[in-house]
């Protein structure tokens, strides 16, 4: 071509061609037109060069004009965008003429046009060459024949190539429809709330990935890359094997609540993501598998909520069963020392109430803990605030410790009311506590009874004192000293406040 260009004046050849040509730049401004074109459209070169195509030619004032302009513009833009020649088999477009009086009238014409992209040295489309043919006469002949015979397809029609034109027109229309459908479908995919990707070939190369897919995998560009390249962290998670399987066997794969570890932020840690998804084979010509269609949605929140719920139900079950076993134990131990049903019922009930009171306290703090003074007050208030004198700092107790101490204070108070300082009119109980050794905190509680009847050590240890000793030692890892001094019972309880071995 270059040789040819050197020996010939291409411009002259272009101008001398009997075919009508007009050259547009990518802004659709007319860059050149040959004489045949100027004659065809009844325009002078200087009137149209440098003007936007659809300003120079607007198809006139008719209602159909905007649609006609749109069809031609779409075809030109398509050629620019794709770099491929685009054919417009038939299009209506009106051209202005001056009538003998000098008034402008528009003449309805039919055209057939080809738009050919022309690239610059860098390969970019720089110009579009429109080759246009006026087919008005063929069209009107076709219509005239159709009007006479009442048919749209006749032998003459066929002879004139009208059938071909009509078919071309149909193809063009259906192409346009297909293009619109394709764009709609594409929009649908791109905007779908679920993630969608199209993987092509045996290496699963991303041909399409919608915005939900982009959000799922985060931060990276995947189009044109294989899954292996685009998402290296999934290679060892079995998903490529699944894709291979779908690609080779054509069997659809459905994943339910599948765990996938994804690096969603550049340089970030792998995150657990749960997905419901489907891998479907894409069949090409002759039923061959050409790719895999991926679609699904993320269910991480649902899966995690289920897991949390299961954990909570398990924990609830554990606590309820343990509490029932505790109540069972209280009932059995109480029954051993109370043969009379009425006295059994009373003692059993008061122990249950003690347990329940501490639970109430804990519920108020959402089971985060309770203050020692509150626990003491709950168990002793019934005996009168002036008779049980509480003295000590505020100490936050974790839930299990609060429950234990609640039971212990209940037993101490009950014992005092039955046999000790609270059994007579003027006895008193002093409860003093302090926290010692601040690095390894130890709570020390003194329970001193004064002014009650003289005390003798019981011959048989009751459930109350056993419970106190056992509870402190067993549940609280502490020590309890119960002293039956003749001038009043007293107890010293010491226990560690910070045990790091899973005891709450």
């Amino acid at each position: 071509m270059r040789q040819l260009a050197n020996t010939m004046d291409l411009g002259a050849a272009f101008d001398a061609s009997p075919n009508a040509y007009v050259l547009l730049n990518t802004d659709l401004v007319i860059a050149g037109a040959n004489t045949a074109y100027l004659e065809l459209v009844n325009a002078k070169r200087e009137q149209i060069i440098g003007r936007p195509m659809f300003e120079a030619f607007d198809s006139g004032p008719s209602d159909e004009a905007p649609e006609n302009v749109r069809q031609v513009r779409d075809s030109i833009l398509h050629a620019i965008k794709t770099g491929q020649r685009d054919h417009l088999a038939i299009v209506r477009f009106s051209i202005p003429f001056e009538d003998p009086t000098g008034a402008v009238i528009y003449e309805d014409r039919f055209w057939s046009a080809t738009h050919t992209p022309i690239r610059d040295e860098t390969g970019k489309v720089a110009l579009v060459l429109q080759h246009t043919t006026d087919i008005t006469e063929i069209e009107s002949l076709r219509h005239q024949v159709g009007a006479v015979t009442g048919e749209t397809s006749t032998a003459l029609d066929a002879a004139l190539g009208g059938g071909v034109l009509a078919r071309a027109q149909q193809v063009q229309q259906s192409n346009r429809k297909l293009e619109i459908e394709r764009r709609k479908l594409n929009d649908l995919f791109m905007q779908a709330p679920g993630f969608v990707a199209v993987l092509g070939g045996p290496d699963h190369v991303f041909e399409l990935a919608n915005s939900a897919y982009g959000q799922l995998i985060g931060h990276r560009e995947v189009l044109g890359k294989s899954v292996r390249e685009a998402m290296p962290e999934v290679v060892d998670q079995g998903f490529i094997d699944l894709l291979d399987h779908v690609y080779t066997t054509g069997e659809t794969y459905e994943g339910r609540e599948s765990l996938l570890q994804l690096q969603r932020r550049r340089g970030g840690d792998l995150e657990d993501v749960y997905l419901n998804f489907i891998y479907q084979p894409i069949l090409g010509e002759e039923g061959r598998i050409v790719g895999v269609f991926v679609q699904g949605h993320e269910v991480t929140e649902t899966v995690k909520a289920d897991q949390r719920q299961r954990l909570m139900i398990d924990e609830l079950n554990h606590r309820v069963k343990n509490t029932l076993a505790t109540v069972q134990s209280i009932a059995m131990q109480t029954a051993r020392t109370h043969e009379d049903p009425a006295s059994f019922a009373e003692t059993f009930q008061s122990r249950l109430m003690a347990l329940s009171h501490t639970h109430n306290l804990l519920t108020r703090s959402h089971w985060e803990g309770a203050d020692l003074r509150d626990v003491l007050q709950h168990e002793t208030l019934a005996h009168g605030a002036h008779r049980v004198i509480l003295n000590g700092p505020s100490v936050a107790l974790p839930p299990a410790m609060a429950v234990s101490l609640g039971m212990i204070f209940h037993e101490l108070a009950t014992n005092a009311a039955k046999y000790g300082a609270l059994s007579t009119g003027d006895g008193r109980v002093f409860v003093d506590w302090s926290v010692q050794d601040l690095t390894n905190r130890k709570l020390v509680i003194f329970w001193r009874e004064q002014g009650g009847p003289s005390v003798t050590e019981p011959s048989r240890r009751g459930f109350g004192s056993r419970l106190i000793e056992r509870n402190v030692r067993h549940d609280l890892a502490g020590e309890a000293k119960l002293v039956y001094a003749s001038d009043g019972f007293n107890a010293e309880i010491s226990l560690p406040l910070d045990r790091g071995d899973g005891h709450e």
């Binding site: 069963k321 343990n322 419970l467 549940d475 890892a477």
Partner: protein, 138 residues
């Protein structure tokens, strides 16, 4: 030895199979531990412990002489009791799990070990213990 249904054992005068048995109790709730102790004493057993942590449990399981059996709470102060179970298994000492969930709550490797569900009746404790001893001997 053949396995007999428990009622047969009782009918054959073997209900005393538990008398004098040394039974380790691992249970973090003192009230539940006291209940188990009472039940064990009523059956003529000698309770060992009760201990309230896995570490103490392992220590007893490894070193307590003449242990015949163990009652293990599965969830001990937020930890699972299985290290104790492993120590016992190494010595061939039979065990019974106690749990809020029953046998279904056990991990697969410990299924088949008798389990009692809290709260438990004396009969359930006795049957499970006899079952454990029986399985161990069979």
């Amino acid at each position: 030895m053949r396995k007999y249904p428990f009622r047969w054992i009782e009918a054959m005068g073997m209900s005393n199979a538990l008398t004098g048995r040394k039974v380790l109790v691992v249970e973090d709730e003192s009230l539940v531990a006291m209940l188990l102790e009472t039940i064990l004493e009523d059956m003529g057993c000698i309770p060992v412990g009760p201990v309230s942590t896995v570490d103490e449990g392992v220590q007893k399981a490894e070193n307590e002489p003449d242990l015949d059996l163990a009652l293990l709470d599965v969830n001990v102060a937020g930890r699972q009791v299985f290290p104790v179970a492993e120590a016992l298994a190494r010595r061939g000492i039979p065990m019974v799990f106690s749990t809020g969930y029953g046998e279904a709550g056990l991990p697969p490797e410990w299924r088949g070990v008798p389990a009692i569900q809290k709260p438990f009746s004396e009969a359930a404790v006795r049957d499970a213990m006899l079952g454990a001893l029986n399985v161990a001997r069979a």
